[in-house]
């Protein structure tokens, strides 16, 4: 047994560029560098949180991890297999192992199918997983597992459920083939606060019981802190910082991480007038034409000439930061 056996997913220098149409027909408008060299490992049974603002490339990353999107370069390895090189039987086997839960349970479930049909579908695509005769029992088990009544809800349609219940159905579908990894792309963002906590608790319980690893992608830093063992921060297609949850939140080393954390409203009115907040100027620059050197330098308060010339690399092991002037631990 090598250490690598504990790794379920290895992501190496993943890149995805999208060509943009120019203003005139038949011209090119350059490329959107949606994901531009992202690397990380995922260990068995852990939760890696990935945070970032809109347009940072986190959803494109999610789609590449499960094979819905083909990388421009780089690779995602599951065990010894490269996800995007696999074909035929191997590809189907891989897809069983890596599943996805999407943000919007209203559009990710087919409105014309009952819950029974939705949850039987994975077994129709992968018929070798379970005998036909045992599938319905398994579907009921899955519903019970996610806290829905397996006998009561089978023949209902998605619109007959609340948003939180629909997200549970989406999670049941992702669990059907007993994956090792579930990529959760903003799984609780569309839910009310009171329902969000139910789904977060459910995901944590399922991880304890089933040992599944999560890549938990979200813009809500508080939810990510709650659920993650390790966290990576993404800015304009790159990871700028990566580390264990406590270190990253309590002592951010990248200025962007620090600014992001300080922008989150704190649910405590006492002392709010004294709270120090780093207000970043402006919006993130366009990923079509990112700044030279460090991509964050246009909004960074400590940027120097070096930052405009040399791109910082994500240096370090478990705790890594891509900054020429990392912040000292407080």
């Amino acid at each position: 047994m090598s250490v690598d056996d504990e790794l379920v997913l290895r992501v190496d220098d993943l890149v995805r560029h999208f060509p943009v149409k120019g203003r005139l027909p038949f011209t090119s408008g350059g490329v959107v560098k949606a994901v531009d060299g992202v690397s990380f490992d995922l260990r068995r049974g852990e939760t890696l949180g990935i945070v970032g603002e809109s347009g940072c490339g986190k959803s494109t990353l999610a789609r590449m991890l499960v094979g819905l999107e083909r990388p421009t370069s780089g690779e995602v390895r599951f065990g010894d297999a490269v996800v995007h090189a696999a074909r035929g039987r191997n590809l189907r086997a891989l897809r069983r192992r890596i599943q996805i839960v999407l943000q919007d349970p209203y559009t990710s479930l087919n409105p014309r199918r009952t819950v029974r049909e939705i949850l039987l579908q994975p077994f129709e695509i992968h018929p070798d997983v379970l005998d036909r005769g045992r599938r319905l029992d398994r579907v009921k088990e899955l519903l019970d597992l996610v806290g829905l009544d397996g006998s009561l809800h089978l023949d209902r349609y998605p619109h007959q459920f609340s948003g939180g219940q629909r997200q549970r159905i989406g999670i049941a579908r992702a669990l059907a083939l007993q994956p090792d990894v579930i990529v959760c792309d903003e799984p609780v963002s569309a839910l009310d606060v009171s329902v969000q906590a139910q789904v977060v608790n459910l995901l944590e319980r399922l991880q304890r019981e089933l040992g599944v690893a999560y890549v938990f992608i979200a813009h809500d830093l508080s939810v990510v802190r709650h659920i993650s063992d390790r966290v990576a921060v993404m800015y304009l297609g790159k990871l700028v910082e990566r580390g264990p949850e406590r270190l990253l939140y309590d002592a951010p080393a990248h200025p962007y991480t620090k600014a992001l954390l300080s922008a989150v409203p704190v649910p405590e009115p006492v002392g709010r007038a004294q709270r120090k907040r780093i207000l970043l100027a402006g919006d993130p620059p366009s990923p079509v034409d990112p700044p030279s050197g460090c991509r964050f330098r246009t909004r960074c308060w400590q940027a120097t000439e070096t930052c405009a010339i040399t791109e910082p690399v994500l240096a370090g092991g478990d705790r890594a930061v891509a900054c020429h002037y990392p912040l000292a631990a407080a």
């Binding site: 603002e53 809109s54 609340s162 948003g163 939180g164 219940q165 009310d192 606060v193 009171s194 329902v195 969000q196 906590a197 139910q198 977060v200 608790n201 944590e204 813009h219 830093l221 508080s222 939810v223 802190r225 709650h226 949850e245 406590r246 939140y249 600014a259 992001l260 954390l261 922008a263 989150v264 409203p265 704190v266 649910p267 405590e268 009115p269 006492v270 709010r272 907040r277 207000l279 970043l280 919006d283 993130p284």
Partner: protein
Amino acid sequence: MALLEVEDLRVSFPVPGSGGDATSSVHAVNGVSLALESGRTLAILGESGSGKSVTAQAVMGILDEPPARVAGSVRLRGRELLTLTPKQRDRVSGEEIGMVFQDAMAALNPVYTVGEQLGELLRVRRGLSRSAARRRAVELVDRVHIPAAKDRVRDYPHQFSGGMRQRIMIALAIALEPDVLIADEPTTALDVTVQAQVMELIAEIQRDSGMALLLITHDLGVVAEVADDVAVMYAGRIVERATVQQVFAGPAHPYTEGLLASMPRIDRRDEELYAIPGAPPNPARLPAGCPFHLRCPRADDVCRATLPVLEPLPDGRASACHHRKELLHVGG
């Protein structure tokens, strides 16, 4: 007399296709009373379907009547707004009450430049000349901290980022210097760094002008950062009304208590979140008794039978819970 007084506001919508029964309707807002003073910020906190946005829309006078039926009283400086003619009401909107919405792209006109939209408002309402209106438009765009205001007034809404569009909507809302700004989820669609900028801008304008702010939000963090007073809504009613310090120090309603406990914190890591069971009720099918009793750990027979009314407590706040006294003792 408070600047803005809302008393026993009720809003209902007829439900079509329910057997032609004309009396069938959804009661979105069931007797909401609020008071907002100059320079203060009152947050209406609630989840989807709580009636918070409909309350705001009724105060702003932008509900279509019919189909909506609005009853009760909305008074601005003592003057009743609900009995005004649509034309009189239009004058109040914008002149005395400014509005900011979640979706700036939908609220701005896509075929006119930002300068034209601001300019038209100033010419029609303030009678400014074309050139004076243009100058004032530039000032307003500059006021909301959009760089190169002189050039940017010639741009169309789609040429701005989400945060910048929200600033433009704020510029339109404050153009006529209203006494009250009503902001309905103004930062919900924005990234957290941009949200912080926009909330800071609103606070700054408020400090300078003494304008009152009615903030509609689902975000407890935003409430804790900016509100003076809080009204928590559930199923079309205010279930708790208190100062922001009171709410966060020890809520007087189990729903508020549950909301606070169910929110993950940025400043610490809790083992497990408290989850309020079930989902917010459908306003068309409210349970008997207290509308929260199906999700409430304290519910008993009284709660299942009798609707609690919003009653004042000794410390100045109000709670609509049969168990409010116990709650406060437990909470300290």
